[in-house]
């Protein structure tokens, strides 16, 4: 059982051993292992996108009393492959008056940022491709750079609808960074570290969702707004702005935006699973199985919310953020601090 748990670590140390015996300098060994983990992460991202595409369509259909794609492959499993092939085959049309460099760079940036974020997730004990001590902080900082990419897409398309979508995104994402960060602060206080691996470690006893239900709720709402998922998807509001910031994108460039959205979804769900649902800690099964399972649970909850609720209005959403969520998240920090002190007092006094 322990072997199964440490499967990837055993494989990695095996490779290191080979390279060491071949006489590689340690720097080269580290570089090669870094390359291997990069390939693994990229493969994981791609596989995830394909699976989430299928799950999204089937789950949406099931909520709507219909079956969803079930013709292409068994249970429609090859439908995402079909969609990807279709998008690759389409012509990438660029508007004549678009700002060419900005327009072309936007999908690249957004997808790259999302892929980088996958490197920080703790897939198991000691299985973080990038093990940074300020991992959580770096994660939040990086995920907000996708805002620039969306604004670039909105501006570079030379289309009023895209610009509206881009501007809405900037307002929304920047505003919801604050409750997102504050909700995570409670978890950081409880675990005493910004390292995602250590946060998972600290939940061996009890998951933080039971200690911080309010923070979990705030995190869920803010994450939805960060992802620009319904009910906060005014940035790409199909019924108002046609397609928002990616109106003028077709073919592979649109595919990159599309993939980035789904990859981001999985990423943020994984973050939520790490912070609140215990990450890789769990009995019996190997750590990475628990991690994947919990992440998929979060993904399904997010999809459930997406397919039930209508879209909020942008100014009401901002009011909700500034007047309700932020005070609530500050209250949560206060309560967490008080709670920690009381816990310390009672455990030291009782001894």
């Amino acid at each position: 059982m322990q072997t199964l748990n440490d499967l990837f670590l055993i494989v990695a140390s095996f490779f290191r051993g080979i390279m060491g015996s071949l006489g590689f300098p340690p720097l080269l060994t580290d570089a090669v292992m870094g390359l291997v983990s990069f390939v693994a992460v990229a493969a994981l991202v791609t596989v995830n996108i394909i699976v989430i595409l299928w799950v999204d369509r089937r789950v949406a259909s099931f909520f709507q009393e219909r079956l969803g794609p079930n013709r292409v492959g068994p249970f429609g499993l090859l439908q995402s492959v079909n969609d990807a092939a279709k998008l690759i085959g389409k012509e990438s049309i660029m508007p004549a008056a678009a700002d060419k460099r900005v327009y072309k760079l936007a999908p690249v940036i957004i997808f790259t940022v999302t892929m980088i974020l996958y490197g920080f997730l703790p897939y198991g004990r000691g299985m973080s491709p990038v093990n940074m001590n300020a991992g959580l902080l770096f994660f939040i900082a990086l995920s907000s750079t996708s805002t620039i990419a969306i604004l670039m897409a909105g501006w570079g398309s030379n289309n009023k609808y895209s610009l509206l979508g881009g501007m809405r995104t900037v307002a929304q994402v920047i505003s919801y960074e604050i409750p997102l960060a504050f909700s995570m602060l409670g978890v950081v206080m409880l675990s005493g570290s910004l390292n995602l691996g250590q946060i998972s470690e600290a939940q061996r006893g009890i998951w933080f969702v039971f200690l911080q239900p309010l923070a979990f709720f705030i995190f869920l709402v803010s994450a939805l707004a960060e992802l620009a998922r319904s009910p906060f998807d005014m940035t790409e509001a199909e019924q108002e702005l046609i397609a928002g910031y990616h109106t003028e994108y077709t073919g592979m460039r649109f595919a990159l935006f599309f993939m980035a959205e789904y990859a981001n979804l999985f990423c943020v769900a994984a973050l939520g699973a790490t912070l609140f649902l215990g990450g890789w800690s769990g009995p019996i099964l190997p750590g990475y199985i628990w991690f994947i399972g919990k992440t998929w649970f979060m993904v399904l909850v997010i999809l459930w919310l997406r397919w039930t609720f209508p879209r909020a209005r942008i100014d009401k959403m901002m009011k909700f953020n500034w007047k309700f969520l932020i005070p609530l998240s500050i209250l949560n920090i206060l309560l967490t601090g008080v709670g920690i002190k009381l816990y310390q007092y009672f455990t030291t006094v009782g001894r």
């Binding site: 099931f62 909520f63 079956l67 397919w307 039930t308």
Partner: protein, 172 residues
């Protein structure tokens, strides 16, 4: 309490998630259509008396009745064509026919690949392949004429192109 509506919505979608789905696996499962359903048209050439009431009743000029005067000066139907591309499926022709020679059928699967296939032609009892020269088929419409009886199934016009075939008698 704020949020109760949201929770009720979540409960509703979760409930429907688990219920039986309403999708019909077409074409393995064909829909159960009522007998009056207006799909395609059926034509009984034996009943038709070439009165032309159907063509007069049609709002769009879909029907064309080609007949000639045979023995005892009776009308003999040569060809009955319907240009379904223009048809509204309103049923005025079916209503107008005194003999119920034209009637609705429930097969709705009328999609075809060529525009010529939207012209449905039935051969009447007086169909004379040699007497009236067939009009030139449009490019791509060449197909061997199908031998059929008077009350047979309609199909894409084998040798009749869209447009008038010069008829020996008065067209309706």
């Amino acid at each position: 309490m704020f949020g109760i509506g949201l929770v009720q919505g979540l409960y509703t979608t979760a409930k429907r998630f688990l219920m039986k789905k309403v999708t019909q696996a077409y074409p393995e499962v064909l829909p159960d259509l009522p007998p009056r359903s207006r799909g395609s048209f059926g034509f009984d050439a034996d009943e038709c008396i070439s009165c032309g009431l159907c063509a007069e009743a049609c709002p769009n000029g879909v029907i064309k009745v080609d007949y000639f005067l045979g023995e005892k000066n009776r009308r003999v139907l040569e060809r009955y064509s319907m240009n379904l591309g223009y048809c509204l499926f309103c049923g005025l022709c079916v209503e107008a026919c005194p003999k119920s020679a034209i009637f609705f059928k429930t097969d709705f699967d009328l999609a075809c690949y060529r525009k010529d296939d939207t012209l449905f032609t039935w051969r009447g009892n007086g169909y004379r392949p040699s007497a009236a020269p067939e009009s030139t088929p449009t490019a791509g419409a060449a197909a061997p004429p199908v031998a059929r009886t008077a009350a047979s199934e309609p199909g894409p016009a084998a040798a009749t192109a869209a447009g008038a075939a010069p008829s020996a008698g008065k067209g309706a």
